[in-house]
């Protein structure tokens, strides 16, 4: 009986996943997997646009700091601090900016310039769990550590728990 009900819930969840799956953005080839619903719980799935429902009404995603597709997030892998009580340049209350970081390069569609973006992690608190994103432009494996995002950049802090990630402009490329 339990198994039958579980199967039934799974089928329900599957339908919701299908209806929730969206295809949008300038990175339409990759940004097709949204938030996945399973039995009412929101689970993070790979990849890429998993910001799920945080969009500001009427604002294109590329201009919306609470969307994975915000232009500065072109190589951000993690939770957006903008959805966690912080901003693109500040950690949420109680979290500490990482001492070390890596720098990506993203094109600002407004002025056509490439900017250096510092993807500091915010540290010392539990995973925020909101607006999980995964973009990887110019990202490389960790033999190029300075452009790698599959690692916890809180690694050099006293308290290394990963909370969320900011996207601070540090210069023009």
């Amino acid at each position: 009986m339990l198994q039958i009900i579980e199967t039934w819930i799974d089928k329900m969840a599957e339908r919701r996943v299908r209806s929730a799956a969206q295809s949008s953005s300038r990175r339409s080839a990759v940004a097709k997997i949204g938030t996945m619903m399973v039995g009412g719980a929101v689970l993070p799935m790979l990849p890429f646009d998993r910001s799920g429902g945080e969009a500001h009404a009427g604002m294109p995603a590329i201009d919306d700091p609470m969307k994975c597709e915000y232009w500065r997030n072109c190589a951000l892998d993690g939770f957006l601090c903008t959805c966690c009580g912080g901003s693109v340049t500040s950690c949420p209350p109680g979290a500490e900016a990482s001492k070390v970081t890596w720098v990506g390069t993203c094109k600002n569609p407004k002025d056509g310039k490439d900017y250096l973006v510092s993807y500091n992690d915010c540290c010392g608190k539990v995973a925020c769990g909101r607006c999980l994103c995964n973009f990887n432009e110019r990202e490389r494996p960790a033999y190029r550590m300075g452009v790698h995002n599959d690692i916890n950049w809180c690694m050099a802090d006293k308290q290394t728990m990963y909370h969320c990630t900011v996207s601070v402009i540090v210069g023009v490329a």
Binding site: V30, M45, G129, R138
Partner: protein, 384 residues
């Protein structure tokens, strides 16, 4: 009973079912039961699936699934960004990880835990340095030497190094700096030697002394271009030669049998037409190699470009390594990690969207055996 299930399916309140239950025919009581624990994992073929559990990253997991049936067998907690490796004899599971005394904060302890792979019970732990890399699960960030003596842990502070554990002594015996290099590729014929890929396109080789320190090291000629055509760090060996795939769809083979690594061939996975369509490898474990049959499997996606190297697979392309020709294509199942069974008859894929293991029976007409939901954020597969 059918009526009850139908009612449940329609979401009728349980009270409304009471009358139906009362009308069921009388039956003998069920026997009284005794509570116990499953003594061992029953599956002969086991798929070990690490899960970083990003939503609650202090609390990762290693899932164990039956490789024949997809049935869930059990789980081990892997702490905060734990890397996992099954011992060569399949009897133990190593987990390089760390914990805080208050879960999310407090005093930090980094360790290698050793678990029994049959009973999924804890055996012992070895203290390690806090330099341990807090990385997403990738193959070759935790490596056992071919003679089973050394266990080598990837470090990042972010300066890169490795720490060497002597499993006989159950202690960390050395730290070896590996500046600009990453991953630990054991050399099957040389248990004291390992390689690492470096950011300048070379392979660094280290030979260990008997005390676990670096006796010597060499740096190869450039073997790949990390800017134009980076290599995925997952390499798969045939003997002492490791095969890597590159971001734009080439195979680069590197011979680690000597003191210095050397190029051992390069060929393209894609035709020029396929290259134009952007067919590229992608994922976290995009390569599977079945040595006996000489078949190589690569997780491929179309429309690839800069930044698409972690995209899930649309198709898995199958190659004959000897002739360097593609011999088949199978469904990709949105895979970001793939592996084959030991007999080469099954293909395992981690479906990134569903967070599921897909088991496909290979052959002239590949057939999906099943899709089995596993955890939250699986990104790696180890088949034993």
């Amino acid at each position: 009973m059918k009526a009850i299930l139908e009612a449940a399916r329609r979401g009728l309140p349980i009270l409304a079912l009471a009358g139906l239950i009362q009308s069921l025919p009388a039956a003998a009581d069920l026997p009284v039961e005794t509570l116990g624990s499953e003594p061992v994992v029953k599956a002969k073929t086991r798929i070990y699936i690490p899960d970083i559990a990003i939503m609650h990253i202090a609390d990762g997991k290693l899932h164990v699934v039956d490789g024949e049936t997809g049935a869930y067998q059990g789980v081990i907690g892997t702490g905060f960004t734990g890397q996992t490796k099954v011992s060569h004899d399949g009897k133990q599971i190593f987990i390089a990880t760390g914990y805080y005394s208050r879960g999310q904060r407090g005093e930090r302890t980094d360790i290698v835990e050793v678990w029994n792979a049959d009973t999924l019970s804890f055996e012992y732990e070895i203290p390690i340095s806090e330099k341990r890399a807090m990385a997403l699960n990738y193959k070759w960030l935790l490596t056992q030497s071919s003679d089973s003596r050394w266990l080598i842990v990837q470090n990042a502070t972010p300066a890169t190094s490795v720490q060497v554990i002597d499993l006989a002594q159950k202690k960390t015996v050395s730290e070896i700096t590996m500046p600009g290099c990453w991953a630990i590729y054991p050399v099957p014929s040389q248990p004291n030697r390992f390689g690492a890929l470096c950011g300048d396109g070379t392979m660094q080789m280290v030979t260990l002394a008997e005390d676990g320190s670096a006796a010597s090291r060499t740096i190869s000629e450039p073997l790949f271009d990390p800017d134009a055509d980076a290599l995925f760090i997952q390499g798969e060996p045939t003997g002492d030669t490791y095969h890597f795939v590159s971001f734009t769809g080439n195979v680069v083979s590197i011979d680690l049998s000597g003191e210095t690594a050397k190029a051992a061939g390069k060929w393209s996975l894609v035709s020029s037409a396929e290259r134009k369509k952007g067919w590229r490898p992608g994922g976290y474990q995009p390569l599977a190699l079945h040595v006996d049959s000489g078949r190589m499997y690569v997780a491929m996606h179309p429309g690839g470009a800069e930044g698409s190297h972690k995209n899930p697979a649309k198709e898995v392309w199958v190659y004959d390594v000897a002739t360097k020709k593609r011999v088949a294509k199978v469904h990709g199942h949105g895979a970001t990690a793939i592996a084959t069974s030991a007999d080469g008859k099954l293909l395992y894929a981690i479906d990134a969207e569903k967070a599921a293991l897909v088991i496909t029976q290979l052959g002239k007409k590949p057939k999906v055996r099943g899709t089995f939901q596993v955890g939250e954020f699986p990104s790696q597969l180890e088949v034993r």
